[in-house]
Symmetry: C2
Subunit: 243 residues, 2 copies
């Protein structure tokens, strides 16, 4: 692990990079202890403050964890799917909001990916996840539910659908696509009739998952995508005429 001493700025980034590369390359395995900050400072010929800034960068990506005290230090962290989920959701949310991604583009991506899951979900769903889906459908039918709560329940329903595929890699990749759309969905006002329509489609999808029919689930998702886009179109045309 070496850094470039000719570039006296950005030292902390270089240090982070060097250590990150060592982790990715497998030179530092999970739970391995890094040298102490003082030792790293000597190795890289920089001050302890600079080393610390570099380590904080790695901590922000959950690549290391630190522990105080004797025999403490910085340890290579086992990157858990859970840790990765939340980062993925934050990143995806900001990507959508900062890059003016259209509702249609985000929606298309989300449903294309969900349809990819559906056949696997139908084949493997556990009773637990099916129960979650049914429970969320029930919640969505409750009167007096705010639009935001309705959207949150919608996300929970789709999460259960995705998780039914029992493939953590798929769940991880989809977490971003599904949850990042929530702020966009929150802009929609759902009338009682809108909710009924969505609820019926959710039931249709849940039924397909229960009976193990992947193609029915895919068809249900396609119909749901259609409906979602229609609602969004209505919102935007209404906004435009109002403004």
């Amino acid at each position: 692990m070496k850094i470039d001493p000719n570039n006296p700025a950005d030292l902390s980034a270089q240090i982070a990079s060097a250590i990150r590369d060592a982790i990715v390359a497998g030179d530092l395995i999970v739970d391995a202890r890094l040298p102490s900050e003082a030792e790293l400072a000597e190795q890289f010929q920089v001050s302890r403050a600079t080393v610390r800034e570099g380590l904080k960068r790695l901590a922000a990506q959950s690549l290391i964890r630190t522990q105080r005290g004797a025999s403490g230090g910085a340890f290579v962290n086992r990157l858990s799917f859970e840790d990765a989920y939340s980062q993925q959701v934050t990143t995806s949310t900001l990507l959508l909001s900062m890059n003016a991604v259209s509702f249609d583009t985000a929606c298309e991506a989300r449903y294309a990916l969900e349809r990819a899951c559906a056949p696997l979900s139908a084949a493997r769903r556990s009773a637990d996840q099916l129960a979650t889906m049914r429970a969320e459908i029930f919640r969505q039918g409750q009167p007096g539910l705010t639009d935001e709560a309705f959207c949150a329940s919608d996300v929970a329903f789709h999460r259960a659908l995705v998780d039914s595929a029992h493939n953590p890699v798929l769940s991880y990749q989809l977490a971003g696509a599904v949850e990042a759309m929530q702020p966009l969905m929150n802009m929609i006002t759902f009338t009682a009739r809108d909710r009924q329509t969505i609820l019926a489609l959710h039931s249709r999808i849940a039924d397909a998952i229960e009976t193990g029919s992947g193609s029915d689930a895919v068809a249900g998702l396609a119909a749901l995508e259609e409906e979602t886009r229609k609602l969004a179109r209505d919102v935007f045309t209404r906004r435009r005429t109002k403004a």
Copy 2:
């Protein structure tokens, strides 16, 4: 933006969290300038070093950028798809290698997601991306290509396929799934006959994309998944009998 002064450890993480929340909530918009480090130190009642550690955490996630000099400072960064790609690839790669994800699980996720892209790619592919796919197929047929170069070309081919959908959200989500598999694929030794088989399937997929037939592309991808899994199975059984 407030932090908890009762918890005198983890201050830099709290500061990062507070600022990150402000960005996600939209209180700090793109290109907004944060207060100077000295001002933040006073606001949060901590030292400048602690503020800096917090800011480095945000920089590691590409949420802010810094600029030296008068009228410099920390600015909210527009999170670009490009920045997000590389983070996504690093994270996905580590997730697979650190969590003992099986080849089959990763492969299943990857091809399920790619098949989700295929119909869109067939409908929208540009001449440019088709040319890239053809060029990579040609490269894959060259004699004397190392296995690693073959894998790299394979990734480039699939990237072009995914990008053909012209949906940046899809491209972003898939970057991780496709590229993170490269280390796994690198464990495979490709015989001349293996390469011919893969090449033929790639041609079949490219043809389908060219003629705009999504279903043919999906079928080609399914066949390619089958072939990939078979090769991996062979490697692992050979390893096992050898060991």
